[in-house]
């Protein structure tokens, strides 16, 4: 960072003595520039910490809660350094922090995004400082009251304690503390040996609201004078309206307006604007709007680019891979030469279907826009991107756009986009009314930014000692960066040059081939890691089997001595082979890898390094007739220091099941006319409880390393471990995701 670190430290926090006598502490986050965190009043929560005179400690959580447990984890980090009394802590979501500086937006709260498992690492850096600073002020206030030095004051669970045993609660100290100038430098955070909250289990802070039904997601919010909008959209991104008859619609009681939404601008990135042209029905309530849409007589015409199905993309992949790669991602040694001289040679092709996000909460937005200000309440994972979309559409001043961050019903990458917010803002502007945009389940399936389709061509070779001497992984895929970045950068989301087995095999080549597609693509939980790990870890299993090697021993031999390999991508700068090997051993031990296996049961293993986390899965399966039974599932994870083990286990077990569910049956298909075939869960089956293992045994490796996050990490190795277990149990090797239809075809 260019800014002077020392200068920043001197001004590292803002303290406010609020009118109510509360101590309010905020942290200037990005670029070490101090920011006004509270604004002019206490009407809405602005700061990270507010201690009320009665001792209630309100902690603001800045990142979107998408089910990763960030509200709980962020509050625990801060409360730890504050020595707060957890039973007096209330956690409130913060809005997007933005002010105007010279006509430009200026972000005041630092990291505010749910993507790539980055919230926890960022919070670890920032929020410990906030908590420690607030604690220091309270301790200093106590020292002044007792006319002693701060060294004679300790703090425990919301109470300052003097050497002679006198005590003052934080609430009693809040006003005095708010009058103090913060120290010139950030107080040192605690030593890990002093932790009383970090590393201990904490239930989700919103749990009571959720189980009583009062937790409000964006879809549950409402304005008094709002019109509900439901949109029917053109099936093709480039197409437009051919004919519209809305007479029957306008007769529906409650329907007030029918409006059109133009086709998206092909020059603008997907996700920053509407995905397709549409006809919107605005009504007094959802049912009226839905009935209005059902009575529309609309014909659409295709424009440029009809989405193609996976079969056509598969053909295109074959053609592309016959030529030169779009990007030679990594070349070590000479793979062709190694192949020529090798004793054993292996080859396989894997194919991964396009999938949809299928969040239980569909996209949607509640917006109020006038010529002075805008208020946006929507499920958002990337509030700054949402803000930029709103700013472009409204032209409002930077500090006149308020983006709230409600808890979201999933996310998985879908809410990184702001197409649905753009729709709502356009309608609100045109109608001159506040708009509550509702997407139906069908809308969510047919107008998504899907996980890319990919074909993986793998080749490898081994010497007479059965050690791998060459490895080639070539991927053809419909990069999600197409339309967002220059073509030369499209490979970046699709293939990671330092992913294993890179650095473990002397002659190795990674190459990527661009596939064009008219289907919109976007981020997805664990992104291409979830796809590439399937191909790599299944292929390794095939090789071990062909070489008559134990799949665990073969992998451990490949990982070799514990050492740090350079890792340039997200999660780097290094990949520790020892940490990966360790989680693999743990998972294998827990599933009983080396013990006698039950007759007819197949065991499978896989591991992967994702965004700084080391995870291995082990599965035990059998086929009972036409039913797949997953008897046991183990997820061993080294994700650095774990802030909240209860939450981490939930997310890693959840990632495991989500990975299995997506891999087993999920697939988006495109008809000959370019329409998405799936419109509901019947056609796009998420796994049910009956299809999933009864439990996922999550093993967390104790670690002193910085926290790495957890949300993506449980996904990538789950599906290959399952496919490897299926092979072990049935001798059928599935080379496709989704696994289930192919398994049924082959069995």
């Amino acid at each position: 960072m260019k800014h002077s670190h020392d200068a920043g430290r001197r001004r590292f926090l803002k303290v406010f003595g609020a009118a109510t006598g509360a101590l309010v502490v905020g942290l200037p986050a990005y670029g070490w520039v101090p920011d006004e965190l509270l604004g002019q009043n206490l009407v809405r929560l602005g700061p990270y910490v507010r201690i009320e005179p009665d001792g209630t400690t309100v902690i603001g959580s800045r990142d979107p809660e998408v089910g990763q447990g960030i509200r709980t984890a962020e509050a625990r980090i801060l409360a730890e350094e504050l020595d707060a009394d957890w039973t007096r802590v209330i956690v409130e979501p913060l809005d997007l922090g933005v002010t105007a500086v010279g006509g430009d937006p200026h972000w005041t709260l630092g990291h505010q995004m749910a993507s790539g498992s980055t919230s926890i690492p960022a919070a670890w850096n920032d929020l410990r400082v906030v908590g420690a600073a607030a604690r220091e002020l309270l301790a200093r206030a106590a020292a002044e009251r007792w006319k002693t030095t701060i060294g004679n004051v300790r703090t425990v669970r919301g109470v300052a304690i003097a050497a002679d045993g006198r005590t003052l609660g934080y609430g009693e100290l809040a006003h005095a503390a708010s009058q103090l100038q913060p120290a010139g430098s950030a107080p040192a955070p605690k030593l890990p040996s002093q932790y009383v909250l970090i590393g201990q289990d904490a239930g989700d802070v919103d749990a009571r609201d959720i189980v009583t039904g009062v937790q409000r997601y964006a879809i549950d919010e409402w304005f008094g004078d709002v019109l509900v909008a439901v949109i029917t959209r053109c099936p093709w991104a480039g197409g437009g309206l051919a004919r519209l008859d809305d007479r029957a619609t306008l007769k529906v009681k409650g329907v007030e307006k029918v409006m059109t939404i133009p086709a998206p601008d092909p020059a603008r990135a997907p996700g920053t604007q509407q995905l397709a042209a549409g006809v919107a029905v605005l009504a007094t309530d959802t049912w009226a709007a839905l009935q209005g849409v059902a009575r529309l007589d609309v014909e659409w015409q295709p424009g440029h680019g009809i989405p193609e199905g996976d079969a056509a993309l598969g053909k295109a992949a074959g053609a592309a891979m016959a030529g030169d790669p779009t990007k030679a991602v990594r070349t070590d040694g000479d793979f062709a030469d190694a192949l020529e001289r090798a004793r054993h040679k292996f080859k396989a092709e894997y194919r991964i279907a396009t999938v949809a996000h299928a969040d239980l909460e569909p996209p949607g937005a509640l917006v109020r826009v006038d010529h002075q200000q805008a208020l946006i309440i929507a499920p958002v994972q990337n509030p700054r991107a949402t803000y930029e979309t709103v700013r472009r559409l409204t032209g409002l001043a930077p500090d006149k756009i308020e983006v709230r961050l409600p808890r979201t019903g999933g996310g998985f990458g879908r809410f990184l986009e702001s197409d649905y917010v753009a729709e709502a803002v356009m309608l609100a502007k045109a109608a001159g009314k506040a708009i509550k945009l509702m997407w139906t389940r069908g809308d969510a399936f047919t107008h998504d930014l899907y996980r890319p389709f990919s074909v993986h061509a793998l080749e490898a070779c081994a010497d007479r000692h059965k050690a791998l001497t060459g490895w080639s992984h070539r991927i053809a895929s419909t990069s999600r960066l197409a339309g967002r970045e220059p073509r030369s950068r499209w490979w970046l989301s699709e293939m990671h040059p330092d992913d294993p087995p890179a650095g473990l095999i002397g002659n190795l080549q990674y190459a990527w081939y661009a596939l064009d597609s008219a289907l919109p693509r976007g981020s997805y939980r664990a992104s291409s890691h979830a796809v590439n790990a399937f191909a790599t870890e299944c292929f390794l299993d095939e090789i071990a089997q062909a070489l008559k090697q134990d799949a665990l021993a073969f992998r451990l031999a490949l990982l070799g001595e514990p050492r740090k390999l350079p890792y340039r991508g997200h999660g780097g700068p290094v990949l520790d082979t020892g940490r990966l090997a360790w989680v693999l051993r743990l998972a294998a031990d827990a599933i009983g890898w080396s013990k006698p296996h039950t007759q007819g049961h197949g065991f499978g293993l896989a591991c992967h390094f994702t965004f700084g986390g080391y995870v291995a899965h082990a599965m035990e399966v059998s086929m009972k007739g036409n039913r797949l039974v997953i008897h046991n599932a183990v997820c061993a994870a080294d994700i650095g220091r774990v802030v909240n083990p209860l939450g981490a286990r939930a997310v890693l077990a959840g990632g495991t099941l989500d990975g299995l569910s997506t891999a087993l049956r999920q697939r988006i298909t495109v008809g000959k006319d370019g329409r998405i075939a799936q419109q509901g869960f019947d056609e796009y089956p998420l796994a049910t409880m009956a299809q999933m293992p009864h439990d996922v045994q999550v093993i967390l490796v104790p670690s002193q390393e910085s926290p790495a996050g957890a949300f993506a990490m449980g996904v990538p190795s789950a599906a290959p471990a399952l496919a490897n277990a299926i092979f072990a149990g049935t001798t059928v090797r599935v080379h496709q995701m989704p696994i289930w239809p192919e398994l049924m075809r082959l069995l």
């Binding site: 039904g213 009062v214 139906t440 069908g442 569910s661 009864h694």
Partner: protein, 174 residues
């Protein structure tokens, strides 16, 4: 000042006594006078603002809108108001006691931290209440019969929460 009694203007005609669909929701009486085909889901969400009943789909496939009608599990998205005349609906908001004491199933959900994104959990809780009313000691196979979808993968904790709630109810009965 003296007010002179006024008759209403002739243009205002008294409405007849309105008829409608009478039903009880969480113990309170309601009368729906609008479209009889209105799905209960939208009556709860848009009219009463009982938003614990979630929208997830339109064909009863996900279970996010699960409610109890006369104690039996139903999906509010495909249940028309006209079929509810005289019936008793319980939503997730109606499970806890009036003093705020949670239903044993709600408490079990908290104790097992069966949350993740939480969007499907009100529906899962309703489905569990229904299961336990039919099978106080459900087997794993009974629990497998719950078809409510969870994208986040909270099923193992839901399973544990149901077993915990079952034990809690048994304990109370003794």
């Amino acid at each position: 000042m003296q007010q002179t009694p006024q008759n209403p203007p002739a243009s205002i005609v008294p409405e007849p006594i309105r008829s409608g669909i009478d039903l009880r929701i969480n113990g309170k009486q309601f009368r729906h006078t609008g479209d009889p085909e209105l799905p209960l889901l939208w009556y709860l969400r848009d009219v009463l603002r009982l938003t614990g009943c979630k929208y997830g789909c339109d064909d009863a496939s996900c279970g996010a809108c699960s409610v109890l009608v006369d104690g039996k599990l139903e999906r509010a998205c495909t249940l028309a108001m006209q079929d509810l005349d005289g019936h008793e609906v319980t939503t997730v908001e109606g499970l806890a006691a009036r003093d705020g004491t949670l239903h044993p199933v709600q408490q079990a959900w908290i104790d097992e931290d069966a949350i993740l994104c939480g969007y499907c959990q009100p529906g899962q809780i309703i489905a569990a209440v229904d299961l336990l009313s039919r099978k106080p000691r459900p087997s794993d196979k009974d629990i497998d019969g719950i078809g409510n979808l969870c994208r986040c993968g909270s099923y193992p904790r839901i399973r544990r929460a149901i077993k915990r709630a079952s034990k809690a109810v048994q304990g109370k009965a003794k």
